[in-house]
Symmetry: C2
Subunit: 308 residues, 2 copies
């Protein structure tokens, strides 16, 4: 039986972990803040697109080091924030045959994984999903859910294909992609404007942002495209207009960064904006709009740190 | 006796009006929100650099149209915001011999005055001051106070010199300048970064902004210099470093835009940022950092409008 250890069982980890369990895998979780509750009651996954179901992990652990079995997959699903050591979190559970999967946001978050685990298969994942933790152990899956998975630095392995199949069996579209790094930049085209603008505006949903500052949104998107191209991952010519049209068609939407902000949680400023900008600087690409938005997010975070 | 009508007797109007009265002018005020209180009690001007004194205007009026005498000077001291018609506010009090003085923030706010009153002397004023209205009729003058006055489109008239003298007699340095328009751009070098950044950061004082995002602040300042130069008002080469040094030396300071924001009052986004950007566009100058900050302020204002 396929053994999976989910590390970081918040909304994303619990949701995708539950899908693998539903497909027949043996799924254990490492879970920090809700450990006591989840240990006793497991998870409730209330999925509007799928169903409402209980998910009882095989083991509920406080640390990856407590996992005494051999994981076929570790599935890292934390946020990517500077105070969280992604490598350290998973290392204790990584054995020779463990494939390391991360379903996380941001760009240029691959290399540290490849450097830390040169002999393991590393699979990068992107989730297009709207889901929240509404209370300890209770996850609300509102919409979407599509996954993109691909090996690093590129390609699709048998293990990646197997993982995709498990997700697909559970009712969520999962696609193996030969070039997941490009996919990551592609997702950044949307994230780089809408996430910080939703926070810096004081909480506007996506539609308001777009209706009032479409040109500004497009400028940031264009800079992300320029950086991606310089990084060797050119994006499709129509990606900006597709993103704009798609966002106009979406119901007004609160971004993940805005939800974090409103809940007093750390935001993925560095993973999304900081990493994109560092790539721009390394590659000599001008990105003044992105630079502005990043600088303002850093000031906003500084202000928040004073309020703690 | 010199007759002055102050229009917009908030902190700035009441303070500078009181100085002219102290110097012997006959000063009346048009005062909107605090009319009843001021009509009955006049103003208390509590100036830390000068003294605490009562200021009883000769007349307290609701509208400029109620002023039945002939003003030697009308002194317009409102904020510059799109919902306030500067021309309409003063027109009823402008006679053939009235000099129009405005002590206001922003760039490119001159032309509409020159167009509206082609046959009057128009004097542009800049105040470098920290003062607030603390309660109806009570003005607290914390620090600074220096004025720069100059005729439009340039030069210094006898009336301007006379006005400077009155202010100087009352203990506030007032300087007549041959090129007040350049002075306005010069002030914008400081205002364009610090005002919006204090708001968008969620309320940081100037020192935090500078210590954490000096490069970003410098980028915005440089864009203002570029626009000013293209508009025919080149600023001194060392203006940015002087502004930076000066701000490091200041005590942590809340900008006027932040105070307005915290008090739920309209902000001078258009007068400072919008006008600078429109000049950039007209002159073909790239100003992407300024553009970003302006776009974010517009989103922030949109969000605020929903909360009203």
């Amino acid at each position: 039986m396929i053994k999976v250890l989910v590390i970081g069982a918040g909304a994303i980890g619990a949701f995708y972990g539950s899908l693998l369990a539903k497909a027949g895998a043996e799924v254990s979780v490492v879970c920090r803040s809700d450990y006591d509750h989840v240990k006793q009651h497991g998870f409730i996954i209330d999925s509007h697109p799928l169903d409402r179901r209980h998910f009882t992990p095989t083991q509920v652990l406080k640390n990856a080091a407590d996992f005494e079995e051999t994981a076929d997959y570790v599935l890292l699903c934390t946020k990517v924030i500077p105070t969280l050591d992604r490598i350290g979190l998973i290392r204790p559970a990584v054995t020779q045959n463990t494939a390391i999967v991360f379903i996380q946001n941001g760009v240029e978050i691959e290399q540290e994984m490849l450097d830390a685990f040169p002999n393991n298969e590393v699979i990068s994942g992107l989730a297009f999903i709207g889901c929240n933790r509404v209370s300890p152990g209770e996850i609300l899956h509102l919409a979407y859910g599509r996954l993109a998975l691909g090996n690093l630095p590129n390609g699709v392995s048998a293990k990646t294909a197997q993982l995709c199949e498990l997700f697909n069996q559970s009712g969520i579209e999962s696609k193996a992609t030969e070039d997941i790094v490009t996919g990551r930049w592609q997702k950044c085209v949307w994230n780089a404007p809408f996430n910080p603008l939703s926070v810096l505006s004081g909480g506007l949903p996506t539609l308001d942002i777009l209706q009032n500052q479409e040109l500004f949104v497009r400028s940031i998107m264009q800079e992300v495209c320029d950086i991606a191209a310089a990084a060797g991952h050119p994006l499709p010519d129509d990606i900006i207009s597709i993103n704009i049209e798609h966002t106009y068609a979406m119901p007004p939407y609160k971004t993940s960064m805005l939800l974090d902000y409103e809940n007093g949680l750390p935001m993925e400023t560095e993973a999304i904006l900081g990493n994109a900008l560092r790539a721009a600087q390394r590659l000599g690409i001008a990105a003044p709009h992105l630079e502005s938005v990043y600088a303002l997010m850093k000031l906003r975070e500084l202000k928040l740190s004073y309020l703690e």
